[in-house]
Structures are given as structure tokens and as C-alpha cells.
Symmetry: C2
Subunit: 358 residues, 2 copies
């Protein structure tokens, strides 16, 4: 039997509910493939602020760092919205990403046949969308120096953020993207703003230079403003997209909304060695927290990504993916993806139905 | 009779075709309101590169600068795509924006009832969309220093761009936005990334501080990633949006695609004094240039914005807007907005039909 240490970081809002359900599914799928898990549950975000006064306690980070993979629920809530920046729940995400060095954020955006009508896009436009956004996660304008608010020579306040990429940062995320595209439909679109930003000029140059090492991948380039349009005009044109931290933030949220099922979408954040961080892309939804209304499928599918990308256990991952499809095909729907003719269930019941299908 | 000097900058691709049509419409609408125009036509972009080797010749700039308002067609084309950055047609836009100091870019995104089905969004989602995006156009990461590609201490290339906003730059664009919202439905949404970028923290602070001067305007704030989602989920929630240069670039293109009629959308770029710059938001479409296939309506509507925002001639502007609606209601459509049951026409014929209705 193989054993793995899994750090569970439920976080805030609906985080604990969806993590609890995903944990059961992970356990069952794993045990059927001969895997055992030791779970360690630790507070992060608002939960940690309330408990110990910081969003990312040392002990929580150590547990995460020493695990084989990390499953995170969601972070943030109205309660802490007025906190100063360094005491905001979201800072937990920063520290985690930065200190775990998870530079590669994989965000699939898929329209499941069962949910093709959930999108606000016309059915014929949304149907069949299946893309993977590879977002650089530990560099760029999120972390660049100088940053801050200062007073200029006219005595006036000035806010500064710095978009900065070194060649090796671009190369390593581009390699992940080329490898990802190679395992998918072999098409990679690199998104930048090279007609304006020098950081993008270097980005395009490095990505282009790597292309010769991946002759089986068809590389194209697109400006970010055009990409924001093309995602709506014809999202099916995309297979794999690679882009920087801030453009990835914007485009992956746009793409997720195109699928119409943001409650369905998982993500993986990977480092060069060390444990990966797996989490749903939706937020903490404080308005429905504790009411057993949350859709646990994004977190369950994040557990599948954890198995596949984090532990290399593709079979167990496949079990989870299939079980989710099966529960959907049997007509079970949480409120966010409900449509007439299906069975409306809560978070726990959805989890139970997936568990049956594992 | 009032006389105005209008600089015409047709530019590249379909630019000359749509400018020629819009010019006739502008002349007729103006003359019916007692306005006379002296037009001066000057090369910019690729056309200028071919003629004199630079994208923005001194003479063209002087003519623009000394005019009462500027009408621009479109810029760019495959032919110059391999040029070095400073010899690219798009540089004309930079110099024009920067040197005319047109910091306020107004980009309406409206779904016309006649075209509600042109969007890839479901009809019930797209119908009735009517928003104005106010984009800061002469600051931020487009112009911030330091910028460039340099070699770091490891001998590695590093690309840098700087997002920077001074308080007065935020204040002046925010004022334009509040004034705009006040004349519309009184709702202003400021889009930033204040949970990550210090430049956005200052942005939010200054916009919030100005709100007390506009008690009739309801101000809200939204993170840019959420805005990219909300534009797809429920675009009707937006009235006026104000945002920085790069987010405005991305979101206004996204919003324009939501309307499904990017060939319909005009824009205005305004300075504190000096002439405004008016142009369609679509590009130069080199693939259909010279074939009389272009949709001239975005440029015609830009001429209406020129009258309204550039010259303060609202009546003449209204004439043009009404004429466009009338031609559409009579069923005339260029290829990009054609649907069965309507009459397919070329650029010139569409212009002639609008002219009839003026
Ligand atoms: C919460 C926020 C800081 C974060 C980001 O911008 O990266 C979120 O939007 C995300 O995409 O994970
Ligand atoms: C051509 C390009 C430099 C320009 C921009 O990014 O501002 C364009 O996309 C626009 O929005 O007018």
C-alpha cells in the first residue's frame, strides 16, 4: 500500500463543507487503487485570522510544505473585507504560492455535455469547449519590485506596481505549457501584449525560441485584448493557453464563466519539486456558507487533479472524474447548475451521490 | 454659420473607405444644423510609413493638433507586422494619445435592438446592454518608467513594464467617469485589482474620495477578474465603468464582443483642452480592405461622437445616430452584421442609405 500525507486547508465560507465532501471521495477512490492518506487539517485565511491573528500561520505553512499534496477549500469573506492589506485572508494565497514556489497554475475550462445549457453563451458556441489555461503564478506584477504608494516630487501620492519577468521564469512556465499542450490537442496559444509591454516582448521571444523543442505543438500568439474577445466569439478555437500572472487571472475567470459552471472548475498549482496546491477556482461564497447549498464538484475535481498531477495516480483520478460524470448523468444538481427536469440536491447529498459512483 | 477644422486620418486597411463614407455623413448632418467643416486629410500608421518612413509624421501631428477634432479610420496591417516596435503602425496611436494628452477614452458598448441576435451571448442576456467604458488612456503600464529589456546580475534577460498612477491622473479620469455616469443611469463601477496591486489601492482610494462630490452617482468597486466574469454573466448590470489603461483595453474589447457588433462601436478620446480623437474601435481588417465590404457604421457613429463630445453639437450628433438606426430599421446590413431577411450591402451603399436618412 502506498501512503501519502495530504494537507487539508478548508479556509473560509463554504470551504469546510466542500473539503469535507471531497475528502471522503478522495479516500474512497484512493483505497480502491491501494492508496492510503494521512490527512492533516490546518487553518488558513480568515479562519486563521480569527484563531491566531495572521492569515497564514507558520504551523499551517509547515504542514503544507511537508505534505505530498495540498487540498484547499476557499479563502475570504465580508467579515475581513475592511482589514488592512497584510491582514486580509487573501494574503494566505500569496504566501502559499510564493513560498511553495507553485509557479504553474493549470486551470481547465470545460463545458460538460450535461451542462452545455448552463452558459450564458449560445449553446452552439459553448458546447464542446475544452481548454486549459496555464497561468504563471509566482511572478509578474503580483510580486514585482518596486511596489507601493509613495509621494512624488510634487508632493502627490503615486501608486506603483512592477510587471517583471526574467527569462528563466518565462521558460519554465512555457515548458509546462508545451508539455500540457502535447498531452492535449497539440495547440498552444501564448497570450501577451507585446505591442505595448516590454515584459511581453521578452515573453514572446522566449516562448517562440522554445517552440523548436516541441515540433509536435503548434504555437500561436495573441494579444490579450483580442484573447478576451476570442474567448467569447469562438472559445472552441482554444486548446492550451499560456499567459502571465495578471492576464491569466483575468482570462481564466472569463473562461470559467463561459463554461457557465464556475462551481465545477478545479485548479492545480505546481512547483518544480515540492507539493502541489489544488483548489476549486470559485470563491468562499459567504452568502451561502453553512447552508449545505455549495457545489462540491469543483473541489472533488480538484482532488482528482491532486491525484493526477500531484501524486501521479492517474487511475484513482480517473475514478473520481468518472464518478462526477456519472452523478451528473443520473441527474443530480446543486442549485448553481440546476435546470428543470433534474434533481436538486445539497452539498452533502451531491457528495454522497458521487461517492456511490466511485 | 459655424466653421470647424476637422483632421481626417484615414490610416490603413479599411480606414480610407470608412472615413470617406463618414465624412459625407458628417458634412450633411452638419450643414443641416448650420455647421461647415474644413477637412484636412493626413497620413498616419502604415500609410505614413510607406510614404515618409515614420508612423506619425510631424505634419500629420501638427494638422491634428491644430484641428477642432480628429476623425481616425484604422491603423495597422500584415505588411508592417515584422517591423521593429518603433516602426510599427500602432506607434501612431501612442504618439497621438500621448501628445494630444487624450487621457479619457469613452467606449460605449450597446446592443441595438435591431442586432440583438448578433451576439454569441443568449438573446435574453445580450438584449438591452447599454454601457460606457471610461478607460484611462495616457498613463499606467502603457507609458510607465522604467520599461525595457535588460540583463540582470545573473546575466539573464529581464523584461520590465511599470504600472504607475499619480493621484491627479486618477482624479481627472474619475471625474470624467462620474460626469459620464451622471448623464447616464447614475451608476459607476470602478474596476481595479486593489487586492493585489498597489497602483490599484491608490486608484480605489482616490475614486472613493471623489464620490462625495457626486452624491447622485452610485459608486461601486469590482476586481478586474470578477468584472471579466460579470460582463459575460450579466452585462446589463453595468452602466458606466471606469478603469485603468490596460484593464480598459481588455474589458472594452470583451464588452464590444458581447454586443456582437464590433463593426458598430465608436470611441472618443478626450483631453482637458485640445482636440479630441474619434475612431471606430475595430481594426484595419486588411483581409477585406479595398473590397467595399467594410461596415462604416462605427466610423459614422464616431463622427456623431465627434459632434457631441468634440464640438458640443448635440443636435447634429443626434441626426447621425437617428440616421444609423433608420438605415438599420430599413433592413440594410453589411456582411459582418448580416442575418437572413435583411438586405446585404457594401460599405458605400450602407453609407448612401445612412445619408438618405440624415
Ligand atoms: C484572491 C486573488 C488574490 C487571486 C488572484 O488574483 O490570484 C484570485 O483571484 C485567483 O485567481 O486565485
Ligand atoms: C493597438 C493597441 C496598441 C491599442 C491599445 O492597446 O491601446 C488597441 O488595442 C486599442 O485598444 O486601441
Amino acid at each position: 500500500k502506498k501512503r501519502f500525507n495530504i494537507a487539508l486547508l478548508p479556509g473560509d465560507g463554504i470551504g469546510p463543507e466542500v473539503i469535507s465532501v471531497a475528502k471522503s471521495v478522495l479516500e474512497k477512490a484512493g483505497s480502491l487503487e491501494g492508496l492510503e492518506f494521512d490527512f492533516q487539517e490546518m487553518p488558513v485565511g480568515g479562519a486563521a485570522l480569527d484563531l491566531v491573528g495572521v492569515p497564514m500561520p507558520e504551523e499551517s505553512f509547515t504542514a503544507a510544505k511537508n505534505s505530498d499534496a495540498i487540498l484547499l477549500g476557499a479563502i475570504g469573506g465580508y467579515k475581513w473585507d475592511k482589514n488592512e492589506k497584510h491582514l486580509r485572508p487573501e494574503m494566505a494565497l500569496f504566501y502559499l504560492r510564493r513560498d511553495l514556489k507553485v509557479f504553474a497554475n493549470l486551470r481547465p475550462a470545460t463545458v460538460l455535455p450535461q451542462l452545455a445549457d448552463a452558459s450564458t453563451l449560445k449553446k452552439e458556441v459553448a458546447e464542446g469547449v475544452d481548454m486549459m489555461i496555464v497561468r504563471e503564478l509566482t511572478g509578474g506584477i503580483y510580486f514585482g519590485e518596486p511596489r507601493g504608494i509613495s509621494i512624488n516630487e510634487n508632493g502627490e501620492e503615486v501608486g506603483i506596481s512592477t510587471e517583471i519577468y526574467a527569462a528563466h521564469e518565462i521558460d519554465r512556465i512555457a515548458r509546462v505549457a508545451f508539455e500540457t499542450a502535447r498531452k492535449r490537442r497539440g495547440k498552444l496559444c501564448s497570450v501577451d501584449k507585446a505591442n505595448v509591454l516590454d515584459a511581453s516582448v521578452l515573453w514572446r521571444k522566449r516562448v517562440t525560441a522554445l517552440a523548436s523543442e516541441y515540433p509536435d505543438v503548434e504555437l500561436s500568439h495573441m494579444y490579450v485584448d483580442n484573447a478576451a474577445m476570442q474567448l467569447i466569439r469562438d472559445p472552441k478555437q482554444f486548446d492550451t493557453i499560456v499567459t502571465n500572472n495578471i492576464f491569466g487571472d483575468i482570462l481564466s475567470d472569463e473562461a470559467s464563466m463561459i463554461t457557465g459552471s464556475i462551481g465545477m472548475l478545479p485548479s492545480a498549482s505546481l512547483s518544480e519539486s515540492g507539493p502541489g496546491l489544488f483548489e476549486p477556482i470559485h470563491g468562499s461564497a459567504p452568502d451561502i456558507a453553512g447552508q449545505d447549498k455549495a457545489n462540491p464538484l469543483a473541489t472533488i475535481l480538484s482532488a482528482a487533479m491532486l491525484l493526477k498531477y500531484g501524486l501521479g495516480e492517474e487511475k484513482a483520478a480517473k475514478r473520481i472524474e468518472d464518478a462526477v460524470m456519472d452523478a451528473l448523468s443520473r441527474g443530480f444538481r446543486t442549485g448553481d447548475i440546476y435546470s428543470p427536469g433534474n434533481k436538486l440536491v445539497g452539498c452533502k447529498e451531491m457528495g454522497a451521490e458521487v461517492l456511490k459512483s466511485v
